[in-house]
């Protein structure tokens, strides 16, 4: 293996951008900060591509197996003997693939933002935050230690919080960033406890050792982890499920998805980068990273992953059909597609042909990043032009935004799985894997894929076809003049090229569950039904939305119950509010307050009557409550004494 320590530069350059722009940006680089950040990231991207080339074609493969290489490792904290927190870099097929995806998408977003955020007051701050995010995400990918990944995981959360709340003078943005942070933090506690359980039983935090110890049937660590159980479920499964909860929070899986739609309050390029292409797939990446443990040692945890993924995919697709805010449609679509990746992992097995789901999941992650970033950036161009997120304000835009129109169409075709666009290939593989292993999930996936093409083309036709725009908007829009110039169109075109061609990459050659090359097989007969279903979805959408008519309203009226439920996102947010406000506040906080006010105070008042007489006389120099404190002290002491001497010996 050649010396590849330069890989450390890939995350460090965006960090440098963050530090430089964060500290000096507002003073010295008011206008040039975008260029600086973009230039640094360009170097990172080139390095990432160079790394990928070297790894996949030169030194990565030994005896037909891609190696897990650790070019850098620094023991940061020796926690106890055997357990240490390291800062290291791991290079294996998925991390190399993710390096390319994250740097490339981030670069596109950097370039795009040069136009989109132009003239914003806090331009340097924006690029500083983007740099921080890119650094954290890249650090997360190359983590060689489960604790290291947790640290970067949190950093990613913090930078996402900062970017969602970027428009901090908008109350909705502030509420959204708080919601995102708290929901994901809640899930992260699961992750942390999961890490503690896994590391406790495997006696290491290092990924390679942990996977090795927890997948070798003879190892003592695995035996102990399986033998120990809590509520009838083994400690190993608990650990993995808790880790998955962390992943589900970040990846917006049902029922922890409620933050994602609100996160669309951030600037649109940020949504493209964080809430579509990179951060939200961190959960998928985490499961993929620990995949051998899931698959070999705890199939139950893996099937949970599968079902949660499938449910999320279906629910999100139904909700997406009814939303009218274009970014929210895309947000739900993201959740649905991540559901695909999750259940693809869930139905996969370890090794050989059975590991198809794993390859497919990573393949879909790759293609989805490209076409979903494209969709968001396209939506950004539309919003930039029309100053609204609502579908009702749009229509007939294809004449005004020709490039956006074409690229958006390509992305829609790709996500709908129409051959030969990228989404077709990855989705076929996922469906095939599901078909071979779990028929229930297969049918859910098939229905979802039909819904996907329906809602995507509903979006497409509503934006670019249909009625012409009302004249009131015309005035506003003409001021902007066109599509935002070269810097905004270049990323669209590049991504559209990717969305059209990325499917032809023989992904199985590079990424498979056991890191041995997997031949891509193509089943023509098998792909007929999903493609047909996809085309049907497109045709229905065309019939309903291409020309202005009242079919959508009629349809909505016809299925009013379901439509209303889906429009209100199945009332999941309301359920959360109900649980927190009604149940927690009413059933726990109110009684506590009542208890405090009536019982505790009442008791103290009653016992305090005697002391009151004395206190009246010395009231001039004290507030009259100190004796209550003393009584509380005594009551506490006596109850502890009673408890420990008589009850709990």
């Amino acid at each position: 293996m050649p010396n590849v320590t330069y890989i450390a530069l890939i995350p460090l350059l965006p960090l440098a951008a963050f530090l430089i722009l964060g500290i000096f940006g507002r003073k010295y680089f008011k206008n040039t900060s975008g260029i600086i950040a973009t230039a640094l990231l360009l170097i990172s991207t080139l390095l990432a591509v160079y790394t990928a080339y070297g790894y996949f074609f030169e030194y990565g493969k030994v005896d037909g197996i891609y190696q897990k290489l650790i070019p850098l490792k620094y023991t940061w904290l020796q926690f106890s003997e055997g357990v240490s927190i390291d800062m290291g870099i791991i290079i294996d097929p998925i991390s190399v693939m993710m390096l390319v995806v994250v740097t490339f998408i981030s670069l596109m977003v950097h370039i795009y933002s040069l136009g989109y955020m132009k003239g914003d007051d806090r331009f340097p701050t924006y690029y500083a935050f983007l740099g921080l995010f890119t650094f954290s995400m890249l650090g997360l990918i190359i983590s060689s230690n489960i604790f290291q990944i947790y640290i970067f995981w949190e950093l990613v959360g913090v930078s996402s919080f900062l970017l969602i709340g970027y428009y901090y003078d908008k109350p909705s943005a502030v509420a959204a960033c708080k919601k995102a942070f708290i929901v994901t933090r809640f899930a992260d506690v699961g992750f942390l406890i999961g890490i503690l359980i896994l590391s406790f039983y495997s006696n290491t935090l290092d990924f390679n050792k942990l996977i090795e110890r927890l997948t070798t049937p003879e190892s003592n660590e695995l035996k102990n982890a399986v033998a120990a159980s809590f509520l009838g479920i083994s400690a190993l499964t608990w650990g993995l499920v808790l880790v998955f909860i962390g992943g589900a929070g970040k990846s917006a899986m049902f029922p922890l998805h409620i933050w994602l739609p609100d996160a669309m309050e951030g600037p649109t390029p940020v949504s493209a980068l964080i809430h579509a292409a990179t951060m939200v797939v961190a959960g998928v990446f985490l499961v993929a990273r620990l995949f051998p443990v899931f698959s070999i040692s705890s199939p139950n945890a893996l099937s949970l992953v599968g079902y949660v993924g499938a449910i999320s995919a279906l629910i999100a697709a139904v909700i997406a059909c009814t939303q009218t805010d274009i970014k929210r449609v895309l947000a739900y679509s993201t959740m649905s597609q991540i559901g695909y990746m999750m259940f693809a992992l869930g139905v996969s097995k370890y090794g050989g042909e059975d590991g198809l789901g794993y390859t497919a999941s990573m393949f879909h992650l790759f293609t989805h990043a490209i076409f979903k970033a494209l969709l968001f950036l396209g939506a950004g161009a539309v919003i930039h032009y029309i100053h609204s997120n609502e579908m009702k304000d749009m229509g007939g835009l294809r004449k005004y935004l020709p490039i956006t129109h074409i690229t958006f169409l390509i992305a829609c075709l790709a996500i709908s799985g129409v051959p030969p666009f990228a989404g077709f290939f990855s989705k076929e593989e996922i469906l095939l894997a599901a078909y071979q292993n779990n028929k229930t999930i297969y049918w859910v996936a098939l229905i979802t894929s039909g819904l996907t093409s329906f809602y995507m083309f509903r979006l497409y036709f509503s934006i670019f076809w249909g009625r012409t725009r009302p004249s009131s908007f015309k005035r506003d829009c003409d001021e902007v003049k066109g599509e935002g110039g070269f810097v905004m169109m270049l990323p669209l075109v590049l991504l559209a090229f990717g969305a059209a061609t990325a499917g032809f990459i023989p992904f199985g050659h590079f990424i498979s569950s056991d890191r041995i090359t997997l031949e891509n097989k193509f089943h023509l007969m098998f792909s007929i039904s999903p493609v047909a279903l996809g085309l049907t979805g497109i045709i229905i959408a065309m019939w309903m939305y291409k020309k202005e008519n009242n079919k959508p309203e009629k349809f909505a009226a016809m299925s009013s119950g379901l439509y209303k439920a889906a429009y209100h996102k199945f009332y999941i947010d309301e359920i959360y509010i109900f649980i927190t406000q009604k149940i927690i506040f009413n059933l726990i906080a109110r009684p506590t307050a009542w208890f405090d006010k009536n019982i505790v105070d009442g008791m103290i008042n009653a016992t305090g009557e005697g002391t009151k007489e004395i206190s009246e006389k010395i009231k001039t120099f004290q507030s009259g409550k100190i004796q209550q404190y003393a009584i509380c002290f005594l009551v506490g002491l006596i109850s502890l004494a009673l408890l420990f001497i008589y009850v709990w010996k």
Binding site: Q78, I151, D169, V174, A589, Q622, Y629, F633, W648
Partner: protein
């Protein structure tokens, strides 16, 4: 003689400084700026000498004992005092009786040093009183404010009450075992009801000093009424000192009945975290807020103490070190703002970032650390406490602790949101910060970031425990 000198070096140095200050007080008045500078230099020297010429051993038939760990603990407190002398410089300069204040504070510190080193219940009691009574006088230092006198009065009365119970407990222990020496006590402890009762009396005295629920009621009034320098002394230095002696008596002296105190600690820890958090949620006054949140923090310290292992000691000492930096930073910012504008309400902090970016950043860093958000040191502190506690295997306890971390996150973020995100028509105007306060805030901020990242700090503490 030489041995006495070297073993008791920290106490002797503090005594020397106290006498020096007394002599200066008797002599003609010196300008308060010069005086404060002198005191700061003396305290810095005291902190530095804490690192050198440390030896281990016993004195006076085991009444006084010292180890490398104790020297470290004392030095952590010295660092805290030094930071306090810097942080509240502008308040000190305004006060006519600055020298008395330092004499009182150093006397309390001397008491704490003896407390940490005590090897006998009698010594322990005397040291605890020495560490408490001067603080009550300090609480009264805002001479023109009624709340300040009220705080002092409440503190002295409730302390007297708890001391009475402590003394009762000590006499019961002597009655039950026939000894009050820390080394002999474990031999006679067998967990009989009388011993448990006596232990409980002792235990509540600790709980009172640490403001553990339900022995915490004095805390809020005293913290709110006292001058901010005293509040921070009480919530950081006093708590640190009592925690240190608490953990060493539990682990060494009361080891034979560890099953009993494990359960007590578990119950009180849960109560402290839950009630501290619930009350902190409602507070609008920033001092009261920090006071209640510090009750919850003590709940977390108890999680670490419950582990009854070497890791328990190291994680608690590590946490206290971080806690000193984080809490002093928060108090420092609150004090700078309240002394110049008189504003102590959280709503007044809206939009602080626009006018005072430095103060805002330090405050946010401190709050992140208190909330335990990585990569600040507070995260590692809490993590180690939880891992230490988890080694005992009561996962329900650890889960409750982890859930409380989330609740606390909510209210710490509330302030962060006010500072950074909420708009305010009339934000607090630009505040001139004293140079030494700025220096201290920078040290605190650096500490909050670096102690987590530099792993040798934890390794060093671990090697001593």
């Amino acid at each position: 003689m030489i041995e006495t000198l070297t073993l008791m070096k920290p106490e002797l140095i503090i005594t020397f400084i106290i006498f020096l200050l007394l002599f200066i007080k008797i002599g003609k008045g010196v300008k308060s700026e010069t005086m404060l500078l002198l005191i700061q230099v003396l305290l810095l020297l005291n902190f530095i000498t804490g690192f050198i010429f440390n030896s281990e051993g016993n004195l006076f038939d085991g009444m006084y004992q010292t180890t490398a760990m104790m020297a470290l603990q004392k030095n952590i407190l010295s660092l805290g005092i030094y930071l306090i002398s810097l942080l509240f410089a502008s308040w000190f300069k305004k006060s006519e009786h600055m020298l008395e204040f330092f004499i009182l504070m150093l006397s309390a510190l001397l008491g704490m040093f003896f407390l940490i080193s005590s090897g006998n219940l009698l010594m322990f009691f005397l040291a605890l009183e020495l560490a408490t009574i001067p603080v009550a006088a300090m609480a009264n230092f805002d001479l023109d404010k009624k709340v300040s006198s009220e705080a002092a009065m409440k503190m002295i009365l409730s302390s007297a009450f708890s001391s009475g119970i402590l003394l009762f407990g000590i006499s019961l222990i002597y009655g039950a075992t026939g000894t009050i020496s820390f080394t002999e006590l474990p031999l006679y402890l067998d967990g009989s009801p009388l011993q448990i009762l006596a232990f409980l009396f002792l235990f509540t005295a600790f709980a009172f000093k640490l403001s553990i629920v339900p022995f915490h009621l004095w805390t809020a009034d005293v913290y709110e009424g006292s001058p901010i320098a005293v509040t921070s002394f009480l919530s950081v230095i006093s708590k640190g000192a009592v925690t240190f002696i608490f953990i060493s008596t539990l682990y060494k002296v009361f080891q034979p009945i560890n099953e009993v105190w494990y359960n007590m600690i578990m119950i009180l820890s849960i109560a402290s975290m839950v009630i501290g958090n619930l009350f902190a949620l409602r507070q609008q006054n920033i001092k009261r807020f920090i006071a209640f949140s510090s009750i919850a923090q003590v709940g977390f310290i108890l999680v670490g103490i419950s582990s009854n292992s070497a890791q328990g000691i190291s994680s608690v000492v590590y946490f206290i070190l971080i806690y000193i930096f984080s809490n002093l930073a928060a108090f420092g910012v609150a004090s700078a703002i309240s002394s110049q504008t008189g504003k102590e309400n959280i709503n007044d902090y809206k939009g602080l970032y626009q006018t005072n970016p430095f103060l805002s950043l330090v405050l946010v860093l401190a709050l992140f650390s208190l909330a335990g958000i990585p990569p600040t040191a507070g995260f590692f502190g809490k993590l180690f406490l939880l891992t230490a506690g988890a080694s005992k295997g009561s996962y329900l306890f650890i889960t409750i602790a982890a859930l409380n971390m989330i609740i606390s996150l909510y209210y710490y973020l509330r302030i962060v949101r006010a500072v950074f995100m909420e708009k305010n028509e009339q934000p607090i105007e630009k505040i001139e910060i004293d140079l030494s306060a700025k220096f201290a805030l920078t040290i605190c901020a650096a500490g909050i970031v670096l102690i987590g990242l530099l792993s040798w700090t934890y390794d060093y503490i671990q090697s001593l425990s």
